[in-house]
């Protein structure tokens, strides 16, 4: 059977076929200015979250102390420096310290300098214990971003499994899963979380898990819908006919083709989880002091804002607002970029 049709045009670009779909999505995404701004902000927050200890800390990045050279002592934690007072230490002639750009620890209290207004020393002022607000906000970024992503990771994992089972098996499995989803959606999730937090220790991990466990329903419904649509498609029928196991058909054939809308929903989910954590911390049920979080800074401001301590309200509030907006812009951009009807 030799024929002209079975000759294949040489592939001009070897990476093209791998990313065909995502390349198309990216090209569309790029046209959306707002989404690009959102993406830029999200990437910026990522960098801040990753670099936190070298951005805002009283522990130097590089230091020479008593003839010894230390690189990134925050991470290496040399035994002889365990109780070292970094903030009081002034390098002498033959000593040296390269400090982070914000040379304040988020935990170091300075009771003589409480509620100080923004100055060249403390750019965004200090809180009611004299801690640097900017430093605490930078550390709070790490908390917010990680809660956002881990909580959404948990909710996507649960949602994908439930949605996949319901959409693939249909019938009574579908009915059971849908009822579970409906019951879960009946609870106002914020109050459900408050109730659960009353019973468990409100650590950062517990908050991630609780937010994840109460926000998977949307993902489950999305995945179920995609599976219902795809399970009748011919490549899935072919996979079943060739005798592949159900798990393989579900996770290798159906899921990769159903993930695009999940990604969009996950992006919105990150924004929701960050907002949720801020709300919990604001009410005192979230991340516990002295751990810094945006919501926790806002909580302090409740009492102080009447005394004119405006910086404790403005800056954490703006950070929450900008972050949530950025994730929502990215989510909207992704959704539009993936919608084939909007493609020119």
């Amino acid at each position: 059977m030799s024929n002209p049709e079975s000759t294949i045009a040489p592939s001009s670009n070897p990476t093209r076929h791998r990313q065909g779909y995502w390349r198309l999505v990216w090209r569309q995404f790029r046209k959306n200015k707002q989404a690009l701004v959102g993406l830029g902000l999200v990437l910026f927050l990522f960098v801040v979250a990753i670099l936190t200890p070298v951005l805002a800390n009283d522990v130097p990045i590089i230091m020479v102390h008593e003839g010894e050279r230390y690189i990134l002592p925050y991470y290496t934690r040399p035994a002889e420096l365990v109780n070292f007072q970094y903030d009081r230490w002034e390098p002498s002639e033959d000593e040296y310290a390269l400090r982070p750009p914000i040379p304040h620890s988020p935990f170091r209290q300075n009771l003589r300098n409480r509620q100080a207004a923004p100055s060249s020393e403390h750019w965004l002022g200090t809180d009611d214990r004299g801690r640097d607000v900017l430093s605490r906000m930078i550390w709070g970024t790490r908390i917010s971003i990680s809660i956002g992503f881990v909580a959404v990771g948990i909710s996507v994992a649960i949602g994908v499994v439930f949605g996949a089972l319901a959409g693939y098996y249909t019938g009574w499995v579908d009915v059971v899963v849908l009822r579970i989803i409906e019951v879960m959606m009946c609870f106002p999730s914020f109050f459900l979380i408050l109730a659960i937090i009353a019973f468990v220790r409100p650590s950062i991990w517990n908050i991630m898990i609780v937010i994840g466990l109460t926000s998977w329903m949307g993902v489950a419904r999305l995945v179920r819908g995609e599976f219902l649509k795809l399970r009748e498609s011919e490549f899935v029928l072919a996979a079943r006919a060739t005798g592949l196991r159900d798990m393989r058909v579900m996770f290798r054939h159906l899921l990769p083709n159903a993930l695009a809308p999940v990604l969009v929903s996950a992006t919105f989910g990150v924004a929701g989880a960050i907002l949720m954590e801020s709300g919990l911390s604001f009410l005192g049920f979230g991340v516990q002091p002295p751990t810094a979080s945006w919501g926790e800074l806002l909580k302090q401001s409740q009492r102080l804002v009447a005394d004119g301590v405006w910086w404790l309200v403005t800056f954490p509030g703006a950070a929450i607002f900008i972050t949530v907006t950025a994730f929502n812009l990215v989510g909207e951009g992704l959704r539009d970029a993936m919608d084939p009807r909007l493609r020119q």
């Binding site: 024929n3 011919e234 490549f235 029928l237 072919a238 079943r240 060739t242 592949l244 054939h253 990769p256």
Partner: protein, 339 residues
């Protein structure tokens, strides 16, 4: 039921029924059924091709998918190599179905866009423990060669291929599990005419080399005439006439078959043909007409057609038709008794 040669059939379908429930209302009450397949019998001997023809919506595709239990049948038996597929549990079905495969109409929809040809084939081999270890790659190249694709195509994604090439990949996937029967569900209707012939030649070539039997589902009579040993004509979920290619194309008995043949274009401008124009549309399979399903549109209908269902009745040894006007039996009833 003895349309074919009297050898042991590879596949015997007996009284196959598939009704899709029609649900309404808050509590999804079943208010009716789409009688997509309403009592179908046929056999396919090893290495032969039976074509199933009929217009859109007559249940051809449902028959094909029900045989493989990609759709669960409502009733009837599908005996494949002596085993009733309908009675098998999930696990037995996985291994037994291996000998029966399907190729699809839409070469764009029948391949997972996120998997290379190699991983598609490898996965199928893996599922049945075929060609393990070092033989795997070799076997995949062999399969690709069998369907006329070069080995380089293994590492490519479906969207890099043309329609005809994709159809070849679909065929290679079906062949990977070494089937005896392939259900070809309109395998060429979505292809360019020039490519159609290549795929048909490939299917014929594979039949010869591997001794495959085909259930060839099509609405294209000229193709059916070319590829089939036997032809079954379906109308509204039932087979109305079945016989060898010669029987159906040269001596059609059922008025519906005659109308179908009259409607098929002939590549001869001089050819004068008697057109049989059927009046009306195909009735709804939710509420099919009483008696013979075809009677409201039949030019030869007699009053009894409205009342009585006519089973397939032998016309000659190899030819059956379900028409009380043209293939009458005494005491026609709704029971199938075609012996």
């Amino acid at each position: 039921m003895n349309v074919s040669t009297p050898t042991e059939p590879l596949l015997a379908v007996e009284g196959l029924v598939k009704h899709f429930p029609v649900r309404r209302g808050v509590f999804s009450k079943v208010v009716g059924a789409v009688r997509a397949v309403d009592g179908v019998d046929f056999t396919i001997p090893p290495g032969k091709t039976l074509s199933l023809v009929g217009e859109s919506g007559c249940g051809k595709t449902t028959v094909g998918r029900t045989i493989l239990r990609l759709i669960e049948p409502t009733g009837g038996r599908v005996v494949f190599k002596g085993v009733d597929m309908v009675s098998l549990g999930r696990r037995e079905l996985r291994t037994t179905r291996r000998r029966m495969q399907i190729i699809f109409q839409d070469p764009y929809g029948s391949l997972n866009p996120r998997m290379t040809v190699y991983s598609v084939l490898s996965e199928v081999l893996n599922a049945h423990g075929l060609a393990p270890g070092k033989q795997r790659r070799e076997r995949i190249y062999e399969l690709l060669d069998l369907v006329g694709l070069p080995p380089e195509s293994a590492d490519r994604y479906p969207h890099e291929f043309s329609g005809g090439q994709r159809q070849r990949i679909g065929i290679a996937r079906a062949l990977a599990v070494e089937p005896d029967l392939i259900v070809a569900d309109e395998p060429i209707s979505a292809l360019d005419v020039s490519i159609q012939a290549q795929i048909l030649n490939l299917l014929a070539d594979l039949q010869e080399r591997l001794g495959l039997a085909y259930l060839f589902i099509s609405h294209d009579l000229s193709v059916v005439q070319l590829v089939s040993d036997m032809v079954a004509v379906m109308y509204l979920g039932r087979i109305v006439e079945m016989g060898t290619v010669k029987d159906i194309f040269e001596r059609p008995v059922h008025p519906y078959t005659k109308a179908l043949l009259a409607a098929a274009p002939v590549a001869d401008p001089e050819h004068a043909r008697k057109r049989i124009i059927l009046s009306g549309d195909v009735p709804s399979p939710i509420n099919p007409p009483s008696g013979c399903h075809f009677h409201p549109r039949c030019p030869d209908a007699i009053p009894a057609c409205r009342e009585l269902e006519q089973a397939l009745t032998p016309v000659t040894a190899s030819h059956e038709a379900a028409c009380m006007v043209h293939a009458p039996t005494t005491g026609a009833t709704s029971q199938s008794g075609s012996e």
